[in-house]
């Protein structure tokens, strides 16, 4: 019996090649894309999921009720972790960590590496498997380091390096460390990333910050005792906070902060390890949002959904052609279940074929997908039983629903009606119309999303940030030389090159450079009886002119020795609240007052999703610069870049030059937006193509079903255009309804997305009009060709075929 079904199914599919082709192509592509997207989403959701103790590990953050509203601090002072461990019950293990980049040296080889400075518990808390060497407690000794395999390979050219000595540049000095163990390479879905792990106590900041509760510079991870809830820990840490942060709380009270609902000013909060990647502290509280990966999942589902709607609609429409068969089979004794099973097995056949092709497609395009959308997909994930079972179940469920619905309709038809070839079809058309509205609604929604996303990206790319991003090259000062010396040497080296305008340095990059690291620092100090918070940037004296910042008051640093004052931005001036900010004296170090030399116009030193904050420039030989900046003239920019690189090579022959123009750096900061935009773009293109494929197949069927009507209309004198109009208008009406439904949803979704950006475009009506018009035009072109041809056909012919 089943063989018979298959035979009939196969012949049916082969007979109707256009329809089958459209269905199988559509479903395969949809499945392939959905598989890829789902893998990307699953990968993102799997962030930090590989730690065996992961459920008990939390990142410790501090929430503060400041006079300007709540604030979250993810960096902590060095004494916090030991104090927490000994004073608050329930801490099983605790580890501080600083992620950093530094220069590793071995036998004259210099490699800049990702270093993580951690407490020794780190390797027992987190699951970074140590394969060779001291696997119990690899960081037992203060001068021990753990290297990952690729780190060791990069520096030593081998992974058999246990016991060898590597020098790390700490605070400008080379310090020797012994490799005590080799760890597996860090998985791409790990939030903590490093090539070398060294002891926290060896970090350059530790010496001065060991006992300082007011110097916050590292993250703290805590592993709680089994069964202890995070909320219980947070509760029991309250006394601890009151003890150690009493002074801070008093100051907050004095400055007019309002307490939270529990009457508290400072709290410790635990962010579960698996949420860390998805946590945002921007709005002053911990927000965990996995909307990104879920959005990708959503797109994947919608695309499959659209392809499935095509299948359902085409199957239902095709019923008309198979009425005779259904009736005949019934008179021969087929029961409803048997018919259902027959039609369902045909669907199963199509779906199995499509999913197979889809899997092959997704495997073929895996690497392209990864590079285009710069996402990671671990291949273990593909083979993991959970993923495979999930895939199978999904496919089964889809086949059940999508294949089952038309099969159910067909098996329920009355015998006589189907033998006579009559279809009571009004209900079916309603279902069809609703599904098509759905389909085009989704497509229009995605098109609007695409347009708005690119609009916002374009806006961010072209916005005047207040500094010169086109003509400034930045590069990490990752060499062995002292950074201040290096900037001076570069300046000398490039002096006399007419295309080089100026050279400077600071301790933070603008945008995201090729080294991929970002940092920011801030300070708070007493000013006229209240706390003033500001971002803090160590610069050299030519920073302002190199970046093309505009001074609005006062003066710039005049020379390298002019380091007894600061330059601030307008936001900071406002924060100080002085009529004339130039009279302010800032007590940045205890007892030392720094006059304000000048005020620069506000510029966007942070990403565009954040407002411009107070900023203070500060010159100090004691603090290292980490990035160099060179301004070039607009002519010969490529040559100038090469000149900078050559100068670098001459001065730091062993260190890699990672320079890039600031506009590239800025572009890199919205890589995430670009990836999302690319995904939505391809999703919407696919959605519209699939919808149109369905529409096309539908128009074929409708035209063939209405051949007689067309013939009669022509015989009584209808024109080609009026017939085309009649045939097209029903479909175009559906597209319009879809537009009316999709627009408000899109408006709401895009508005809430844009809320994430402090600087954003206006949601103009034209985005919606353009999307609607696009969908309408594409839909019209899809059906138009067929309908016009049908309308032009000789009526005698069409009447005869009936």
């Amino acid at each position: 019996m089943f063989k018979n079904y298959l035979k009939v199914a196969w012949r049916n599919l082969v007979k109707d090649k256009t329809n089958t082709g459209l269905n199988v192509t559509g479903l395969s592509v949809a499945f392939a894309v959905a598989i890829l997207l789902a893998m990307a989403a699953v990968f993102q959701l799997s962030y930090d999921g590989f730690h065996t103790n992961g459920d008990a590990i939390y990142k410790v953050v501090r929430t503060e009720q400041t006079p300007k509203g709540p604030k979250v601090g993810a960096v902590q002072p060095a004494p916090l972790a030991p104090a927490l461990y000994s004073e608050v019950p329930g801490v099983k293990r605790i580890a501080r960590c600083v992620e950093d980049g530094t220069l590793a040296l071995y036998k004259g080889k210099e490699v800049s590496m990702d270093v993580i400075w951690v407490d020794q518990e780190f390797f027992s808390m987190f699951s970074f498997p140590v394969r060779n060497g001291n696997d119990k407690n690899p960081l037992e000794n203060l001068n021990s380091v753990v290297m990952t395999k690729d780190g060791a390979d990069k520096l030593f050219g081998s992974t058999e390096v246990i016991g060898k000595t590597v020098n790390l540049l700490v605070n400008g000095e080379e310090k020797p460390f012994t490799v005590s163990a080799i760890a597996d390479n860090i998985l791409p879905q790990s939030n903590l990333d490093f090539q070398i792990a060294a002891r926290f106590e060896s970090h350059n900041e530790y010496g001065v910050s060991k006992e300082a509760w007011d110097r916050q510079y590292h993250a703290v991870y805590v592993e709680l005792e089994e069964g202890l809830a995070a909320s219980d820990f947070e509760k029991s840490s309250e006394a601890f906070i009151d003890l150690h942060y009493g002074e801070g709380i008093e100051r907050l009270k004095r400055d007019g902060a309002t307490a939270d609902e529990n009457g508290r000013f400072i709290n410790l909060k635990l962010v579960p390890l698996k949420d860390v990647h998805f946590a945002s502290f921007k709005n002053g509280f911990v927000e965990v949002s996995r909307s990104g990966p879920y959005l990708i999942f959503g797109i994947a589902l919608l695309i499959v959904f659209i392809a499935c709607i095509n299948y359902i609609n085409m199957s239902i429409a095709k019923t008309a052609k198979r009425l005779k068969e259904i009736g005949m089979r019934k008179t021969l004794g087929a029961q409803r279940q048997q018919l259902f099973f027959q039609f369902w097995s045909e669907s199963l056949f199509v779906f199995l074929l499509s999913i197979t092709i889809g899997v092959v497609f997704s495997a073929v395009f895996l690497s392209d997908f990864k590079s285009i959308f710069n996402t990671q997909i671990s291949s273990e994930l593909l083979m993991s039983p959970v993923f495979l079972i999930g895939l199978l179940l999904t496919v089964f469920a889809i086949t059940m629903l999508v294949g089952g619905y038309p099969a159910l309709l067909m098996s329920r038809l009355g015998t006589i009606q189907s033998l006579k070839g009559k279809l009571e079809s009004s209900g079916n058309n309603k279902v069809r119309n609703v599904l098509m509205v759905f389909q085009f609604g989704i497509a229009i929604l995605m098109i609007i999303g695409t347009l708005v996303l690119w609009g916002q990206i374009d806006y961010m790319r072209n916005k005047d940030l207040g500094f010169d991003k086109e003509q400034v090259v930045s590069f990490p000062l990752n060499g062995k030389r002292n950074s201040h010396d290096m900037v001076a040497l570069l300046r000398d080296e490039l002096n006399g090159n007419p295309d080089i305008v100026s050279v400077s340095g600071s301790d933070s990059n603008l945008g995201l450079g090729k080294d991929g690291s970002r940092s920011s620092s801030g300070i708070g100090f007493e000013y006229k009886g209240r706390i003033v918070m500001t971002n803090f940037l160590v610069v050299d004296n030519e920073y302002v002119q190199t970046l093309g910042l505009n001074l609005v008051a006062g003066r710039n640093f005049e020379s390298a020795g002019d380091s007894l004052g600061v330059v601030i931005n307008e936001a900071m001036a406002k924060e100080l609240g002085e009529q004339d900010p130039l009279v302010s004296q800032l007590e940045i170090d205890d007892g030392v007052f720094y006059p304000v030399y000048g005020v620069v116009k506000d510029y966007n030193f942070r990403d565009l999703d954040q407002e411009i904050a107070p900023m203070t420039f500060f010159m100090s030989r004691q603090q290292n610069l980490t990035y160099g900046f060179v301004k070039v003239s607009p002519a010969n920019m490529a040559n100038s870049f090469a000149a900078i690189e050559n100068a670098w090579k001459k001065l730091e022959p062993n260190a890699e030059f990672l320079g890039s123009f600031l506009d590239e750096n800025i572009d890199r900061t919205f890589r995430r937006e670009k990836t999302t935009a690319k995904m939505i773009t391809s999703g919407s293109i696919l959605a519209i193509i699939l919808s149109c494929m369905g529409l096309f197949a539908m128009s074929l069927l409708i035209v063939s079903q209405r051949t007689k009507e067309i013939g009669i209309r022509k015989v009584v004198g209808a024109s080609v255009s009026s017939i085309t109009y009649i045939l097209t208008k029903d479909f175009l009406k559906l597209v319009l309804i879809a537009f009316v439904i999709a627009s408000p949803i899109a408006w709401w979704a895009m508005r809430s997305w844009l809320q994430n950006y402090a600087y954003r475009i206006n949601l103009s009506i034209w985005y919606f009009v353009a999307a609607g018009a696009l969908a309408l035009v594409i839909a019209f072109l899809t059906i138009g060709t067929r309908t016009v041809r049908a309308a032009r056909a000789n009526p005698v012919k069409s009447l005869r075929t009936e």
Binding site: V8, R11, M328, R329, T331, T415, I416, L419
Partner: protein
Amino acid sequence: MLLQLRNIFKWVQQGGQRVFLLKDINLEVAEGEFISIMGPSGSGKSTLLNVIGMLDTFDEGEYDFLSESVHTLKEKYRSNLYKEYIGFVFQSYHLLDDLTVEENLEMPLLYKKVKGSERKALVADMLDRFNIVGKKDLFPTQLSGGQQQLVGIARALIGNPKLILADEPTGNLNSQQSEEIMELFKKLNKEDGVTIIQVTHSEKNAGYGSRIINLLDGRKI
């Protein structure tokens, strides 16, 4: 007694009025009869045939088939009943275009869950009996109308039914083909004892039968 219809009514609602398709039909059919149903278009011939074949329902009356009361049976049992005892022949043959002659013949047996080897034997028998062995791998569209109807009859007979219902079996055929088909029916009736009820327009074809029932506006006259 093969089947008995008592006071059968069938109607549809049209514009608030009952339009009767069958009105008070009483009919007894004994085994071995060859009955022709005649009447003008729209007189209810096909409807009556469909009611007898259990493909269509009726609104009032009683219908016994082999002493089973059809009007009380559920659809599933009804379909079991007709699949077991009734074969259908149609004016437009209603062969499945996607299946070969052989597969078309096999299909009723599949629904009766006949075993594979037995199925093969029965199909081979039938092909032999109708002299269409050479055509077994052809598709219906490759056959002439007469040949298609031959396959249609073979398919109706393959389940070894007690009753064959034929709805204008020669309506699409020319006179020579018609004659052949009618001869075949006569032979089946005489030699194999199959009960046949046919709907026909032609007096000549009706003449092959043993009894004629005339219908007008859903009523027996």
